[in-house]
Symmetry: C2
Subunit: 526 residues, 2 copies
Amino acid sequence: MPELPPYWLRDNCPCAECRDPRTGQKLFQINDLPEDLAVAAQAEIEGNLEVLWSDGHRSRYPLAWLGAEDEGDGRTEAHKRLWVAADFRRGLPEAEWEAYVGDPAEQAAVLSAVRRSGFAVLRGVPAVEGQVRAVAETFGYVRTTNYGELFDVRVEPDPNNLAFTSVAIAPHTDNPYRDPVPTLQLLHCLENSATGGDSGLVDGFKAAAILREEAPDDFAVLTRTLVPFVFRDRCTELRADRPLIDVDALGRIREVRFNNRSISTLRGSSDALAAFYAAYRRFAAITLRPELQLTFRLDRGDCLIFDNTRLLHARTAFQQDGHRHLQGCYADLDSLASTLAVLHRRTAALDAVAELFAGEGAGEYLGEAVTMAEHMLQAAAAAEAADAPPHLIAAALLHDVGHFQGALHGRDLMQGQDNRHSDTGAHWLAQWFGPEVTEPVRLHVAAKRYLCTVEPGYRARLSEASEYTLKVQGGPMDEQQAAAFAELPGAADAVTVRRWDEQAKTAGAPTPDFEHYRPLLASLMK
Amino acid sequence: MPELPPYWLRDNCPCAECRDPRTGQKLFQINDLPEDLAVAAQAEIEGNLEVLWSDGHRSRYPLAWLGAEDEGDGRTEAHKRLWVAADFRRGLPEAEWEAYVGDPAEQAAVLSAVRRSGFAVLRGVPAVEGQVRAVAETFGYVRTTNYGELFDVRVEPDPNNLAFTSVAIAPHTDNPYRDPVPTLQLLHCLENSATGGDSGLVDGFKAAAILREEAPDDFAVLTRTLVPFVFRDRCTELRADRPLIDVDALGRIREVRFNNRSISTLRGSSDALAAFYAAYRRFAAITLRPELQLTFRLDRGDCLIFDNTRLLHARTAFQQDGHRHLQGCYADLDSLASTLAVLHRRTAALDAVAELFAGEGAGEYLGEAVTMAEHMLQAAAAAEAADAPPHLIAAALLHDVGHFQGALHGRDLMQGQDNRHSDTGAHWLAQWFGPEVTEPVRLHVAAKRYLCTVEPGYRARLSEASEYTLKVQGGPMDEQQAAAFAELPGAADAVTVRRWDEQAKTAGAPTPDFEHYRPLLASLMK
């Protein structure tokens, strides 16, 4: 074990005192830690590094976490697939709208393409006004600008921007005069019956990487020259001074701004101005290389989503022999990445639950004649047979997940999960499911104690093992307890689940397998 | 004249062929310029540099523009007033809501304070839910986040953030895990009857500047260490890797992110981690120095607006002996700066018009017995006497502004104004006023030709000078011209203005002065 900096180690303590179990937010400030903080003692125990601190605090770090690699926020060239047009010879990253909204895997593929390649196209999006807002809201929030919440790209009688004419527009990024610049753009085609008006995309990160390769000095000039981007009309006067190519502290390309229309007067020495214009012209020439131009046509119902910090977009001129009408809006990459991460997390969670059913689930169920997995699948099957709503089928299926050791260890420890104080799976499930699922799970043990009190004959029907655990759990409720229980949110659902729970102990009864329930669980995770 | 880089000079050509007269957007791409562009000939003529280019294009640059200084986008420390708490001993930058919404100067002062000092407080904002959105929309757009379009800061039963509890919160910036981070925050107090719960602000730029002064190496470490900020709950998984102190290409402080709650695991060599934590703790200690803590209380109806890329905000713990309810939202600095620039531009425009009335306006009015200023003020007074709506009073006041040479020169040349092809002031006025003002001005000459055709006896009542100019202007319209004129937007208003125009030639008639009309003009500029 190499020497670990004490403040770093302590700042990462995962215990519930240091981090909010739900959000992983830290509950202390860095200066709350004492001046002379040191490790008083440490030992590796059962896959963890256990630390006793000089101030008496104790921490436990999984060794796997200590050695973990970090993925970064995915926003620089390091996590992108830089491309040339030929890379899409076999087709664009695209999906049908119906599949996108219905299938989490399809949605994840589209959002992943935007993150990796900078764009994706949805086909068959209902060609009605305002629909582009609905597309944006599948992964984030519309960013309103001076062009409105939504904007219409079509020929206007009195345009305040060349976009609203029929002329060709060279590859550029939008709103460079804004800081923060809108990081995503959506363009939804409502009509495109004009001759011309094709769309073009260029990977600005690729173009910048080529510039760095061919002319590193020019690349350096563009990363360190603050260019004044300006837009003004009667109600607007925007200005942002930003480089054409922005790199992060490690020198990785992170953002490209490119829009000659909006570059105002750069000031500086003659030498600096000459160096900038030489580099700028060289970069511009690279963006115009035919091999970088990806050209395609948006037809009615297509919606293009692209990264406005990376891709340059363009359009060819069009004739006014037909109509061309795109409706667009801006949104942001951070929310898109969040939505994608949550989709991945949900898929991983379902995979993990599936593994638990297949692995630990094959183990004995508290002295009953069924395994844990059989028991929970039988409960779910009973719920399904009773035409129960999806959240109750899910609660029945998952009600004993707290018995699975695997659900309460390892992967989530560093997220601040308080696994020592949770005696059910409800807390674990709350990472993905709402209270309509978690509360019946949380209360299903109490529901037994409740039913034994309020329902004559219920206790007599308990299995031998269930009668045994009843005593361990505190026996039947008294009347006051029962009345209080009945008031809890989810109590009635817990009672319903409990009845299926009691029925689900038949050796050898056939049931659907876990995968049968995956779409239902996935839809409840939204 | 020093040697000017040709591409720089040409890229800044202000002619109407190179720049859209309305928006200043360039109408060419940088690579449209030839490879061997050079100045073929140049000369200084009447305050301009006239250039003949090797490709035959001609440009004219005001010498004053060539030597102009640049103000930058105002986002770095260079354009801020860094502060300590004692700087506000005499009071916070604040304004009454009624004055803010009613008086452009008051609004400009508030927005200017946010830009310069990082914050301002509005008092007497109606304490109703949703009002904070209206405050944001006085200068920009709400940025929606996972906390909603608006969010309520009060004690919640099941908080997903410490903000929604009653505990003290140390100075921090919000949403550091977002990129783009919301650059402005608004907090509107709907109720604050609890003991405690005071607000605190710290100038993060000042704290960073102190760190640079006292420990330059630590400052450098914080500008180059990419810190992973993370937030996750059931529906969210946000991450941004950004430095605690972000500097621009010139090394100027531009953004501070500070929030220990959200710092996830930083990875790196032991030395790098130790260096970061030492610098981070030193910076944190500076932010906690008492002299930097500005503490005040938000009461019902107060709305705090602050720069979330610069100011750290905090609150003291509060008892639940009363209620504390703030409603907040996020917005962005770029739109605020735009709104402020437009307010300044409007004020400058009104100042310029006032100067024109006082200066050139004292000159002869085309052979009439009144000066130009007297003539326009008399027309406005006639409109006012007729209880005309504000836009017609304005049109009457400004109808001959095109006669002022000063309105058509100098300051706006570099904004792409096409002053050579405009024979009225309508185009100039369109920078600030809508068509309800500009179109009657544009058509007031045509209206005379129209009236002479359609109204028997009208021509006979013209003054001698007006009869003379009628001929120069083309004489009465024929019937087809008159019918076409009547169809134009604003034609009826132009006719109305024309009648006041004809009346406004009485030597010595008393009128209000220009300042009397300033509030009316200011309200029409919105």
